[in-house]
């Protein structure tokens, strides 16, 4: 991993040494933010317009700002949430309008630059854990409203927690190179051939929603690859493809089913949990109907990976037979006889694209660690799945997942036992009971 980073730095050096100096300038150009006021610090400004605050609160929800900037159980937007990255832990900052520890001395233009161009008030570069590469698409009006909302927050004095990034990742200047490689410094431009609803959907998905942050696969330096929204490995999980691909994306779901999933955290087969559960709880459940429909319309319009169903593994395959037995004794009580699940509570496996994802990491980590359904205003139940790490060994888990991935209309590659062993170590799941003795 480290050598790859140095290659990246080398790329920067080479780039800087050549004619790419102009590219570097364009990449760092934040003139677009000059529309914002640069005189009045947040803490000194007159009280913001209430209508703008309301609109800004909705923009904050679209951007899911609270997910990172509010620590669980902590003060709203006072930061301190540790974001686990492959490079170390990055702690979110205090964005309340408090002078000493928050952004009380910031002007609106400082704020615009941070959100859209990844630059702090002092000019230092932010780590792309802050998704400015998506937020750069947000328009001036939304950002202006968001600023009004942020200024309306209760100032909280809470000093930031230092990041735990090791060398060389602790060199913020290195982000110059990262930006040059991955940051597309361009505002959102509507696609003229597409209807307004589609464009609104794309604006939300690519901008404030920053869906690609999880759902687009990353390369070794954490930059987006070209497999846009086609599913990505996360730490201890997998963000599935969310394009219109019917096999592993959301193409087999209706617009309403996609919207319902985002609104209440579940639909006719899927139940959001884990990282997506948090996104639903903090963000998407609060989006209005037209915006949810716009997102669904846009996602379904994407052709995606083109992944197609392989031939299902034979029911007589030894792993399938073993899996069927485990399913019957361990899973059926909740997931039902034919993998139907229970609406709004328990994931249905039958003909479920999420189950067929090329990567089984989500399934493996859920079996190992359990999970809890998103709790939303539309569904307060919060049903949960227990951990089976203590009860099933790696081969059992591999077999039962192979079984559900190849039953009731599903077809997907078998899950290998070594993958489960690796995940068991990676997510710190407890050993199976036989091995605890």
């Amino acid at each position: 991993m480290k050598s790859k980073l140095w290659l990246g730095v080398l790329a920067l050096v080479l780039a800087a040494g050549g004619t790419a100096l102009t590219a570097l300038y364009a990449n760092g150009n934040s003139n677009a933010d000059d529309v914002a006021d640069d005189q009045v610090p947040a803490a000194d400004a007159a009280a913001p317009d209430p209508a703008a605050i309301t609109r800004g609160a909705y923009v904050a929800v679209q951007g899911d700002c609270a997910a990172c900037h509010t620590k669980p159980g902590g003060n709203a937007y006072a930061g301190g949430y540790g974001l686990q990255t492959p490079f170390g832990v990055i702690y979110s900052t205090n964005i309340t309008p408090e002078r000493d520890t928050g952004i009380g001395t910031w002007t609106e233009r400082d704020f615009f630059r941070a959100v859209r161009h990844g630059k702090r008030q002092d000019g230092a570069l932010l780590y792309p854990a802050m998704p400015y590469n998506a937020y750069v698409k947000m328009n001036d009006a939304d950002l202006h409203d968001l600023w009004a909302y942020i200024r309306s927050l209760k100032p909280v004095a809470q000093a930031p927690t230092p990041n735990t990034l090791g060398f060389p990742y602790n060199i913020r200047l290195a982000m110059l190179g990262w930006n040059l490689l991955y940051f597309k410094n361009a505002p959102y431009v509507a696609e003229p051939g597409q209807p307004a609803q589609w464009n609104r959907g794309r604006y939300l998905v690519d901008g404030a929603g920053h869906c690609g942050a999880c759902h687009t696969p990353k390369d070794a330096l954490g930059g987006d690859t070209s497999a846009y929204l086609q599913g990505a490995e996360l730490l201890g999980g997998y963000a599935p493809e969310i394009t219109g691909n019917p096999h592993v994306g959301v193409g087999s779901w209706s617009i309403e089913q996609v919207a319902q999933y985002l609104k209440v955290g579940s639909n006719h087969m899927a139940v959001a949990a884990g990282a997506m559960g948090e996104a639903v709880e903090h963000s998407t459940q609060y989006l209005n109907g037209p915006d949810l429909a716009a997102i669904a319309v846009y996602l379904e319009s994407l052709p995606g990976s083109g992944a197609q169903a392989p031939a299902a593994i034979s029911a007589n395959d030894p792993a399938m037979l073993r899996g069927a037995h485990i399913y019957e004794t361990q899973c059926m009580a909740c997931h039902n006889v034919q993998g139907q699940g229970i609406d709004g509570m328990v994931t249905g496996f039958a003909d479920n694209p999420g189950i067929r994802a090329l990567s089984p990491s989500n399934l493996i980590s859920t079996v190992l660690k359990g999970g809890r359904a998103a709790v939303t205003e539309g569904n307060v139940t919060g049903a949960g799945m227990p951990s089976f790490a203590w009860r099933l060994d790696d081969a059992d888990i591999a077999a039962v997942l192979t079984y559900v991935r190849n039953s009731w209309g599903n077809a997907a590659p078998a899950v290998g036992s070594p993958l489960v062993s690796k995940a068991r170590a990676a997510v710190h799941a407890e050993p199976v009971l036989d091995k605890q003795r």
């Binding site: 009580a333 509570m345 328990v346 307060v380 139940t381 049903a383 949960g384 799945m385």
Partner: protein, 592 residues
């Protein structure tokens, strides 16, 4: 000096069915509510999912969801001439010890009491005259009628997701269901559970006797369900792990599955777990409570000030809290004056053990309330002339799920207690043995009561509750009557061996098999000389204290108590919201 929390509109002591239903009503109306629960938070997916639930040794034999007697127990004696001793082992007193209270581990039988049960005194006087009552029996009307409670029963059944079939719907009797029940204004929210071979045998057998069998209303969701609070329940899988277990499938009606998820989304609701309330604190004039004192998990003492104090702990704990808080006049069995501790009673259980010749009962398929019952001998559903008692029992068979450990001695009389003969007999009995039993109506007696033990104390140094109880003559007569009827039904079911049993034939003891439906001690009523609470479960003496639970029942019905404590809690919540908040004082004037 105690730590003091910010004052709230209402503090709720105990977060079981009563407390959670009250909290739901009060917080929905906008009040700030703090609930204080002695036990820990429990979570279906992590504490008792299907992968860990199916463990009879842990949950049933070792009672892992109950309040351990080492923390708080009761002392017991049969009469005043004896010295009470503490009940140190698991006993009939099955107190909850977690968020959800006893509503987490109950079996799920979701009955409405009969109209007779609320007005036993008036009904009996009218039909038989006073001579029907045995000497010393305490029989008094509740001050609330079935008609009053009907809408609240309906609300409870919808929140709890009860499965059943109406027997009397808007005046129409429906054959095949319970034609003796009080009139309902609506059908159950869910259809009845599926029957089993065992319930079918009961149904067929009792029909040949001219009786009216039906499937018991069950707090197990027969289908996926969303309740009026927006909480979802999963369909029951008939795994049989209900009584003493939490339900891992979100199927059993419980505060955890049905109410708490909605409560936890409300910013005006707080629950303090692992915190034991010691007493309510009274204002100087003794006419109102100022809040409660409790110990947190680190044994730090706290005060929670509140405008309204709700006692919604277990029946015996409610009475104990009344006594420790000095609310109401304690009962004195010599003068027969005083009300707190008075009218304590229990429930007779009698019936018959059955062994069939060649059945396949497959009793591992079951649910806590998967039962068939007849009510022909319950309440005042039959003529008691010349019988010398009032009341009776619902007689039922329970397909509750087999207990490989617990049933190990359920073998025909004369079977060796170990060895290959026992194994053979148990293997046979596992598929062929069962029992039918009556849960009796019970009435208290002037000699049965609760008070504070003069000697034994709990871990915090407060006196334990002392139970002085034995079955009275009315109990004994009705229990024998029900035993005989159970034997008749057992024979009609075709059992090869039918042996009657009767818990009331011997002195009461907390370790002898019976029901766990202990009731009364702080009863509601119309007269402050014979009741601790008025018809709204409001203390006659301290008007901002309301006491919810079976402690309010002046008498026991031939049923399980849960739906009635649920309905009464909702009835009281309505009175608080619609009457008490506007006029902070007694909701019923003390009669002159």
């Amino acid at each position: 000096m105690a730590n003091v929390r910010p004052k709230v509109d209402a503090v709720i002591v105990g977060l079981g069915w009563c407390g959670s239903l009250m909290a739901e009503e009060l917080t929905r109306a906008g009040l700030n509510v703090v609930a204080i629960e002695r036990g820990p938070w429990v979570e279906t997916a992590t504490d008792f999912p299907p992968s860990v639930d199916t463990d009879e040794l842990r949950w049933d034999t070792r009672r892992s969801l109950l309040l351990p007697p080492a923390i708080e127990t009761t002392t017991f004696r049969n009469n005043r001439s004896q010295t009470a001793l503490p009940t140190r082992d698991w006993s009939l007193n099955e107190l909850g010890y977690n968020v959800g209270g006893s509503g987490t581990h109950w079996a799920g039988m979701a009955w409405r009491f009969l109209p007779f049960d609320f007005e036993s005194y008036s009904y009996t006087l009218k039909r038989y005259g006073k001579q029907q009552l045995v000497d010393g029996l305490i029989v008094q009307d509740w001050g609330v009628t079935y008609e009053d409670l009907e809408p609240f029963y309906e609300r409870f059944e919808k929140i709890a997701g009860v499965s059943g079939k109406a027997g009397v719907l808007n005046g129409q009797k429906i054959e095949g269901a319970n034609i003796f029940e009080g009139n309902r204004k609506s059908e159950f929210p869910l259809p009845p559970l599926a029957t089993t071979r065992l319930t079918d045998l009961f149904t067929e057998g009792s029909r040949t006797l001219g009786l009216h069998p039906f499937m018991v209303p069950a707090g197990q969701a027969s289908q996926a369900y969303t309740n009026p609070l927006g909480v979802r329940m999963g369909p029951c899988t008939y795994c049989g792990y209900c009584l003493y277990y939490g339900c891992g499938n979100f199927s059993k009606s419980s505060p955890n599955a049905c109410v708490v998820p909605a409560l936890m989304q409300r910013s005006n609701f707080t629950v303090l777990t692992e915190s034991a309330v010691l007493r309510a604190n009274l204002a100087e004039d003794g006419k109102t409570a100022t809040g409660v004192t409790y110990l947190d998990r680190n044994l730090q003492q706290w005060e929670q000030p509140a405008d309204i104090v709700i006692f919604s702990a277990f029946q015996m704990q409610n009475v104990r809290l009344m006594l420790l808080s000095k609310i109401g006049k304690p009962y004195n069995p010599q003068t027969r004056e005083g009300v707190v501790g008075r009218a304590y009673c229990f429930q007779t259980v009698s019936g018959a053990n059955l062994f069939f010749e060649d059945e396949q009962l497959n009793q591992y398929i079951g649910a806590g309330a998967l039962s068939a019952q007849v009510d022909d001998y319950n309440g005042d559903n039959f003529d008691h002339t010349g019988l010398g008692f009032i009341g009776g029992a619902g007689i039922l068979v329970v397909a509750r799920g087999a207990r490989p450990i617990g049933n190990a001695d359920a073998v025909p009389p004369g079977t060796p207690r170990w060895g290959s003969a026992w194994k053979k007999a148990y293997t046979h009995a596992f598929q062929n043995g069962t029992f039918i039993f009556g849960q009796g109506t019970s009435y208290s007696h002037v000699d049965s009561y609760l008070d504070l033990d003069p000697e034994y104390k709990d871990a915090h140094g407060d006196p334990l509750i002392r139970v002085t109880f034995d079955y009275n003559e009315n109990d004994r007569r009705s229990a024998i009557f029900i035993e005989n009827k159970s034997v008749e039904i057992g024979k009609a079911m075709g059992a090869k061996i039918v042996n009657g049993f009767d818990s009331a034939a011997v002195n009461y003891g907390p370790y002898l098999p019976a029901s766990d439906h202990t009731i009364g001690g702080a009863v509601m009523g119309l007269d402050p000389h014979t009741s601790a609470l008025n018809r709204y479960q409001q203390s006659w003496d301290v008007h901002n204290v309301f006491v919810l639970g079976a402690s309010s029942f002046p008498n026991n019905a031939g049923y399980n108590p849960t739906s009635t404590i649920g309905a009464l809690s909702l009835w009281t919540a309505k009175a608080i919201l619609e009457q008490y908040l506007a006029k902070r004082g007694p909701l019923v004037e003390v009669p002159a």
